[in-house]
């Protein structure tokens, strides 16, 4: 459960997002809109990577401005660029890195890494060098890196923007199967099957909010 209360975000003089008050409780929510509409800012508000200039964001009862580190423990985040998210030399080491940062004892790490890779059908990648993975594989490992920390909520900021259509479809299918609440910022509106709710942003404001199919259909029609 995430609640935004009269949120405004300003970068210097530019207003990135304003007047946002809403509660996010559905299992599958899509955030859509043109470039520069405030989608990425919206996503980063939800795990405290960005703190509102005005207003309040509370995640699972925690205030992101005060308890940012705790919020990030409960909320996983997958970014657009697969290149930027993997830091350690091999897949297994990279997944273990996050666990280590979270203070998970060394003895438990291997089992959790294994379980997460298995859940995503990616066990074969375990000992591969991160630098040698394809873009789609990297994004899958980035997702695994978020999931291995057992988050309650997963936020994805345009996770498929750098993938080809086939990889994008595979990635969205994996997301569909996750037990967590998933909030996805995306341009790939045709890959949102099964999403319950969609929020359309334009120029930093929420302009449409409702059933995913309706909002997407109106956005697609308006963009034509």
């Amino acid at each position: 459960m995430i609640a935004l209360d009269n949120v405004k975000v300003r970068y210097g003089v530019r207003v990135a997002l304003t007047g946002v008050s809403t509660t996010l409780s559905e299992r599958r929510i899509a955030i859509i809109g043109d470039n520069g509409s405030g989608k990425s800012t919206f996503a980063r508000l939800l795990n405290g990577l960005i703190i509102p200039t005005v207003g309040r964001v509370s995640v699972l009862g925690l205030d992101t401005a005060r308890d940012g580190a705790q919020v990030r423990r409960r909320v996983g985040f997958v970014f657009q660029n697969p290149e930027s998210q993997l830091v350690m030399p091999t897949v297994a080491e990279d997944l273990a890195f996050g666990l280590k940062a979270h203070g998970v004892p060394a003895g438990e790490r291997a089992a959790r890494v294994e379980a997460t890779l298995q859940q995503l059908g990616a066990s074969a990648l375990r000992d591969r060098a991160c630098a040698e993975l394809s873009g789609g594989e990297k994004q899958l490992v980035a997702l695994a890196g978020a999931l291995v920390l057992a988050p309650d909520i997963l936020i994805c900021d345009e996770p498929t923007a750098m993938l080809d259509l086939r990889r994008a479809r595979t990635f969205m299918k994996v997301l569909a199967g996750l037990p967590q609440q998933v909030i996805v910022v995306t341009h790939h509106v045709d890959l949102l099957a099964g999403f319950e709710r969609a929020i359309l942003l334009a120029e930093g404001r929420v302009v449409e909010d409702g059933g995913a199919a309706d909002v997407i259909a109106r956005y697609v029609a308006a963009s034509a």
């Binding site: 985040f77 830091v87 940062a101």
Partner: protein
């Protein structure tokens, strides 16, 4: 992972621990610097024997000494002019032997073993504010960035060639820097999202 100057092998020299080899390097440096011709001959014989034993060929030695050849020749000539030929030869031989010992250590020790030894050496420095784990992490992170920056550099040079700017260092370096900074900031954000706490 980047290629290092390490030359793979399974000799007894390879198997000696990194810490022992680094200690040997330090000891020989002192012996060669402070000792006379006799100490130099002893060290040279030991290093030559170890080199043969390691079975790594002459390439690592050649690669280390060749870039210094000009400066070693210059020092030799200056010393001949300042003193005499035997003195000049001894000094240059000392330098060459030191370089050879260091080259032998690097050629027979894996980067990961070096890094592990470093972490152990730095561990007691925690009290004076050096965090060994943080140093090791930054090292891994930098190793990760090197191929990325080589790639960014190549892409930028290709783009500038297409615009006819291949002779301008500014046109090559500015976009490379800005892209690298942006990628670094993206990585920082991803690290923050995964709960990493910098020190």
């Amino acid at each position: 992972m980047m290629r290092a100057v390490y030359t793979p092998g399974d000799s007894s020299v390879h198997r000696v621990s990194a810490a022992a080899k680094l200690a040997f390097l330090a000891a020989t440096a002192v012996a060669v610097a402070a000792g006379g011709p006799n100490a130099l001959v002893v060290v040279a014989v030991i290093v030559a024997a170890a080199w043969v034993r390691a079975g790594i060929g002459a390439r690592p030695l050649f690669q280390s000494l060749r870039p210094m050849a000009a400066i070693l020749i210059a020092i030799f000539l200056a010393q001949v002019w300042l003193r005499d030929v035997p003195g000049a030869a001894l000094l240059v031989a000392k330098l060459a032997v030191l370089v050879a010992v260091a080259a032998l250590v690097s050629a027979t020790t894996k980067v990961s073993d070096m890094l592990e030894t470093l972490e152990r050496v730095l561990a007691p420095l925690r009290r004076v504010g050096v965090n060994a784990e943080h140093v090791a992490f930054l090292t891994v992170l930098a190793i990760r960035f090197v191929p990325a920056l080589f790639r960014i550099g190549a892409e930028v040079r290709e783009a500038q060639r297409a615009r006819g700017l291949e002779r301008s260092p500014v046109a090559a370096i500015v976009p490379m820097l800005i892209r690298a900074l942006r990628e670094g900031d993206d990585v920082a954000e991803a690290l923050a999202a995964r709960g990493w706490a910098p020190r």
